[in-house]
Amino acid sequence: MALSKIWVHAEFGTDKPSSITLELISKARTLADTVEAFYAGDNADAVAAELGKYGVSKLYTIDTGGNLQGVAVASAVAAQVEAGNAPDLIMFGTTYDGRDVLGRLSVALDRPVLTNASALEVEGDEVRVTEAIFGGTQLVTSAFRCEPPHLAAFRPKSFVAEAGGETTAAVEAIDAPDKGHAKVVERHVEEHSGPILDEAAIVVSGGRGLGESDKYQLIEDLAKLLKGAPGASRAIVDAGWVPYSYQVGQTGKVVKPDIYIAAGISGATQHMVGMKGSKNIIAINKDAEAPIFGIADLGIVGDVHKVLPALIEALKNR
């Protein structure tokens, strides 16, 4: 039995709805008669047109008054639910804003949350989500034991984005009774060429084995040559070498590129859960016993300071 209605928290990427939004909607369409989305941001009409191609029949828009999304979007959605317009399930991406709205909504509706999920099933009227734990070695499936709407957040790349069920998404502005007090004063877009981390076909990540922060340049150079995105282990994010947005792992981004190159990364479970879904894994590490070699398709036991420059040179000369 399908659910009657699912809502998806829609987000905007650089120039179109973000991939995670399209992935969630594509999955939702297979499980519910009606899929609707809610959105706080610019270009609502363009977003509605795009989401319509994926089967979204209505886009609720919310004005945050220039504040962070959490309070405003949660209060608007909660008001709808309290007024009787309630879905069976509300899906979020595991993103910065997705997590903010989810946390606030959980309190507003007094509902538990399931997060970091990578699969969703409906059995009768039971909603089940699955998440990978312990470095992706175990899959835990949980079911909600409360009244809907259920709240769940999913990792990017859990589902495949596919257009379908084409319709025209009506746009309806809904009121946010509370907009909160966290004001966005200015947005800074950091210039970076190449694809973003969790959408890149090739990811090159560096870890502690690089030795010092200056050596991260090798990772950037290699990523650029391969038209991929640079990533990082938690260890060097914690050490302040690169920003949190570079982090691949349990507490960072989950990536599933065609090629993942791990350089100077030993393969802590924290890291592996974020990249073991990659199609091909290449690892370079001086320690032959490093766990990363256990999942690598090609492993080079060697010094990253020798292998990376040689590789970069070879690629430049092609």
Binding site: L68, A74, T94, Y96, R99, D100, G103, R104, S106, V107, D110, V113, T115, N116, F134, G136, T137, L139, V140, T141, S142, F144, R145, G180, H181, A182, K183, V184, V185, E186, R187, E190, A201, I202, R234, V237, G240, P243, Y244, S245, Q250, T251, I261, A268, Q270, K276, N280, I281, I282, F293, G294, I295, L298, G299, I300, V301, D303, V307, A310, L315
Partner: protein, 258 residues
């Protein structure tokens, strides 16, 4: 300025985790240590309190057993005191239960600012900071990579997909910090000695008036199966003889990415 830092004591992440076969809860027995992620918040709080001309940094934590060794680490860094909510009935708490307990304990400290990590390393649901803020009715700014307080406001550089946002909110407020927001200090010997006698106020769920509202008593989700994930097989592992990079070039060629 008084600051509360929410900290979690977790099993050593270097030791493989285990689920209780009966309850499917994460085993949290034995020695617990301060979650590394929380050291950034403790350091940030100490620096902000100093910059504001003084004030206490209070730790707020929850643990089903009376464990305090992780708290002592944070006290040794310089926190003044700790509130530990410790109760058998907290076992099986989900993120919302955890947030209810933390929020109730934070209220007692009446802080100007609450700092948390973005998520804990062991459970990593990642919603507790926002849930705590909602329960306390406070503004919140998540994923901070830089924090300042001035004129009754907190100003934050918040990590975004595209870069960062400058965000500000009136105090009191809740701010979650990313790793790397500051470099945590190592506790000094003097700090470690002083931490032994710093006050740790231990409360029960009943003290907070939350009986029956948190922990397993209020669990509204159930783990129905735990299965091993498909194992990934190792491929070719070679020792670099100076020509290892050629293997990588050949591999990339075979996958038609170059």
């Amino acid at each position: 300025m008084n600051v509360v830092v929410c900290v979690k004591q977790i099993p050593d992440p270097a030791v493989p985790g285990e689920l209780d076969p009966q309850t499917h809860w994460l085993k949290r027995e034995g020695k617990l240590i301060l979650d590394d992620s929380d050291a950034y918040g403790v350091e940030m709080a100490l620096q902000l309190a100093t910059a504001a001309g003084g004030g206490d940094v209070t730790l707020v934590s929850m643990a089903p057993n009376g464990e305090t060794s992780g708290l002592r680490t944070a006290l040794a860094m310089g926190a003044a005191n700790a509130i530990l909510v410790s109760d058998e009935s907290l076992k099986g708490s989900d993120a919302l239960s955890t947030a209810k307990v933390l929020a109730a304990a934070i209220k007692r400290a009446n802080p100007d600012l609450v700092i948390t990590a973005t998520e804990a390393t062991d459970g990593y649901t990642g919603t507790v900071p926002e849930q705590v803020a909602a329960l306390l009715g406070l503004p919140s700014i998540t994923f901070a990579k830089k924090i300042e307080t001035a004129d009754g406001k907190v100003k934050v550089e918040r990590q975004t997909e595209a870069g960062y946002d400058e965000v500000e909110a009136p105090l009191p407020a809740v701010v979650s910090v990313t790793a790397g927001v500051v470099e945590p200090r190592y506790p000094s010997f003097k700090g470690i000695m002083a931490a032994k006698s710093k006050p740790v106020d231990t409360l029960t769920v009943a003290d907070l008036g939350l009986e029956g509202q948190v922990g397993a008593a209020n669990a509204r989700q159930e783990i129905i199966s735990v299965t091993p994930a498909e194992e990934r097989q190792a491929g070719e592992i070679i020792e670099d003889d100076g020509e290892g990079f050629q293997k990588i070039v050949a591999f990339l060629e075979s996958k038609k990415v170059i």
